[in-house]
């Protein structure tokens, strides 16, 4: 084992050097979110009474329950902060861990860089160990940052530390998942997809557990973070569960890695056709996008079915207290509650699909920097046609994925409420109104690609900012103009409210303008 890990230290140093911007950015964003949420809860709800009222409001709403989980201690600021951030933050830390592990293992392997490194005095497992260690360092840094940040804004030390550990151990767990996923496929994209897919499933299981059977909660590592109960009578022993599970999975990753060749996955490569029938740039783009697009479409159809299946049960799990009933009536009765749940779920869905749109447009950047755009652009295919061939998948892909989710949710909800004919179009419509907002982000990404290609990663930052605006805006009681910066603020809250076409047209126009600016810039710049 010692020999297998030879050189891992050097590789860790190399990885930290390469990630010197990315990891601090994650740590900063998550720490700032934790500290600012606690700070604003403390100021907005400064009496136990106001906090209890706020918590009663959210606890009675199944959509927030599914999104964030239950409030374990509504009387303290820490309890509210933990409710709002533990699960969402743990999910983000999980994504970070998977990305970091893959970047230093499978991605380097696929690119051939690992071959160069492995020819040196470096053990067989050193790269995998380095990837896991760097992800662990990042997780610890995030946990430490969150704990220090919370203590700094006056939260109790024990709860703050538990909060940090909750995020940190989830990061460790998904670093382990990443270590296994990296062994499965030859392609880093697929391996990343597997890892992030596991994170998504863990989040969905947690959501199902919080509105459904509670035994399910032990099936999700993201739920373990909640079960640690930061600021609500910390249960430290949960840490042992998380760490033991992580260790077991990491061990599995190393066992798999020891049994395979450099560059190989677990599935042997198959020969392809000797003749090709790709007719043009769109056909090529379809080949490059179809795997991702199909996976997203299927995944979101399943997610839709889950959401639709839950929706009708939302009223049952809401308590019967007076305050709950009052809120219920304010929201338009039981009907209104179900609609609010569906609308909130579709809003989240739209944001995630915007992420799909970003990566679809960023394919342009990937193809250009990998020098694969050159041979295509050296043919009679013009730049704009080539760019459109990929942008098309951002535009149409968003529609396809949201249609799948809307159909899944509409069917499931319709069947449960015995009213498919009415519910299917309503819910499908609620999914499809998200489309123009996802296009805005695709347009912004294309503008970055055309005008500032070295800063295309900013598109992810924009998505993150919109996510935070949607999540924190109502908590921080931000001004309307700030909320208006996110296109998702303008999306009609369907089903339940009236469909107004004006914002949808407006968003589409903004998206088209941004795209036109990007294509204009792309026409006049150097490739590469």
């Amino acid at each position: 084992m010692r020999e297998a890990l030879l050189g891992a230290g050097e590789l860790v140093k190399l990885a930290l050097r390469r990630d010197r911007i990315m990891i601090p950015a994650w740590v900063y964003a998550l720490t700032a979110t934790a500290a600012s949420t606690a700070y604003s809860f403390a100021h907005l709800y400064d009496t136990p009474q106001s906090r209890l009222e706020f918590a009663a409001g959210v606890a009675s709403n199944a959509s927030t329950l599914a999104m964030y989980g239950p409030v374990h201690d509504p009387s303290t600021v820490g309890g509210l902060t933990a409710w709002r951030l533990v699960a969402i933050g743990a999910t983000l830390v999980g994504v970070m861990s998977v990305l970091v592990v893959m970047r230093h293992t499978r991605a380097d392997e696929e690119a051939g860089r690992l071959e160069l490194i492995s020819a040196g005095v470096v053990g067989r497992q050193a790269a995998l160990a380095a990837g896991v260690i760097v992800a662990a360092i990042a997780s610890v840094a995030v946990g430490l940052g969150a704990a220090v940040g919370l203590i700094a804004v006056g939260m109790p030390a024990a709860g703050s530390i538990a909060f940090g550990l909750a995020w940190c151990t989830t990061g460790l767990f998904f670093a382990a998942v990443g270590a296994v996923a990296a062994q499965l496929s030859e392609s880093a994209r697929t391996a990343n997809g597997i890892g992030i897919g596991v994170v998504a499933v863990a989040y969905l299981i947690r959501a199902a557990a919080d509105v459904g059977p509670s035994w399910l909660s032990w099936a999700s590592p993201i739920d373990w973070a909640q079960q640690l109960r930061p600021f609500a009578g910390e249960r430290w022993w949960v840490l042992a569960v998380a760490i033991a599970a992580s260790a077991l999975i990491v061990w599995g990753g190393f066992v798999l890695a020891a049994r395979r060749d450099l560059g190989a996955g677990l599935l042997p490569p198959r020969p392809g056709p000797a003749r090709g029938d790709l007719r043009g740039p769109v056909a090529l783009a379809w080949r490059l996008h179809r795997g991702t697009l199909l996976a997203w479409t299927v995944g979101f159809a399943v997610y839709g079915v889950a959401i639709g299946g839950l929706a009708d049960g939302v009223t049952a799990i809401v308590g019967t207290s007076d305050s709950t009933r009052r809120i219920l009536t304010e929201m338009g009765g039981e009907k209104g509650l179900v609609d609010a749940f569906l609308a909130a779920a579709m809003g989240i869905l739209g944001l995630v699909v915007a992420g799909y749109a970003v990566q679809a447009v960023l394919r342009l950047r990937v193809e250009a920097t990998a020098l694969r755009a050159e041979p295509v652009l050296a043919t009679r295919i013009g730049r704009i046609r080539w760019a459109w061939s990929h942008v098309l998948f951002a535009v149409a892909g968003s529609i396809a994925i949201l249609t799948a989710a809307g159909l899944g949710a509409g069917l499931a909800h319709g069947l449960r409420s015995h009213d498919v004919a009415r519910q299917l179009p309503r819910v499908l419509g609620a999914a499809l109104v998200q489309v123009p907002a996802t296009w805005v982000l695709a347009g912004v990404t294309l503008a970055l690609f055309g005008l500032a290609p070295r800063f295309t990663a900013v598109a992810w930052g924009v998505l993150g900012a919109w996510l935070l605006l949607g999540q924190l805006g109502p908590v921080l009681k931000l001004a309307q103009w700030a909320m208006d910066l996110s296109p998702f603020t303008h999306v009609p809250k369907l089903p339940g409210s009236a469909l107004s076409p004006a914002p949808l047209v407006g968003l589409t126009v903004v998206a088209a303008l941004a795209a036109a600016a990007g294509l204009g810039g792309f026409r006049h710049r150097d490739i590469g």
């Binding site: 090709g276 056909a283 050159e374």
Partner: protein
Amino acid sequence: MAAAIAIQHLVKTFGRTRALDGLDLTVETGEVHGFLGPNGAGKSTTIRVLLGLLRADAGVTRLLGGDPWRDVATLHRRLAYVPGDVTLWPNLSGGEVIDLLGRLRGGLNEQRRADLLERFDLDPTKKGRTYSKGNRQKLALVAALASDVELLILDEPTSGLDPIVGEAFRDCIIEERASGRTVLLSSHILSEVEALCDRVSIIRAGRTVDSGTLADLRHLTRTSIDAELAAPPNGLAALPGVHGLDVEGTRVRCQVDTAQLGGVLAELTRIGVRSLVSQPPTLEELFLRHYQAVP
């Protein structure tokens, strides 16, 4: 007939780096033109400007009578390109990539495609990620050579090929020239350039330092002479064009400016020659002289 490529005073800067600094290049229609220079001299940058991938900062660039930046679609129908660093889509088979690039270019010659696959001994059913560097290069060559175009732009096309495939490549280029196509060949393999190219241009640090037929270039350099004479020479050193004279009794070694060779040989014959070895400059010497020269 107009030149296939005519570049005058081309300038391209990347930030503070001046990659091309007033480069000139003329490739006549129907010729195989060698494009030579040390690593980082600007060969690939020039080619990318010709392909309209980079925008020139200054200078005049004409490609097949058009503007490479503006007339992308029309010009690219008439040319094929092999990059120096071939990257493939990992999940597409080799055959698919050849057919795709052929179609994007406006069609490819089926007969030649099959013929080239055989000559280059390439298996088109493997996936992109499983090809070696040499096989990726062969794939790009098949895609380029199988298309009916006027101009081939080849950026170090043989750097990863084995000698047998290298030979097959040379045969192909000779056939291309015979059928009237123009080839711009950037290469470091001097024997290849010597065997294939009608004219060469040597660039260094973004400027053209020499251009012409190999005979022209040789004319400006020195021939080395190693002679055994009948008597010890005197007065050789005084002749114009003699360099590095080394006399040991009756044996003479020196280098002579090729233009002055006649005068020196007359003097040697006057003394009486017992044996004579005269060597024209090798291409290597030619290039080393340019590569190492301080501008």
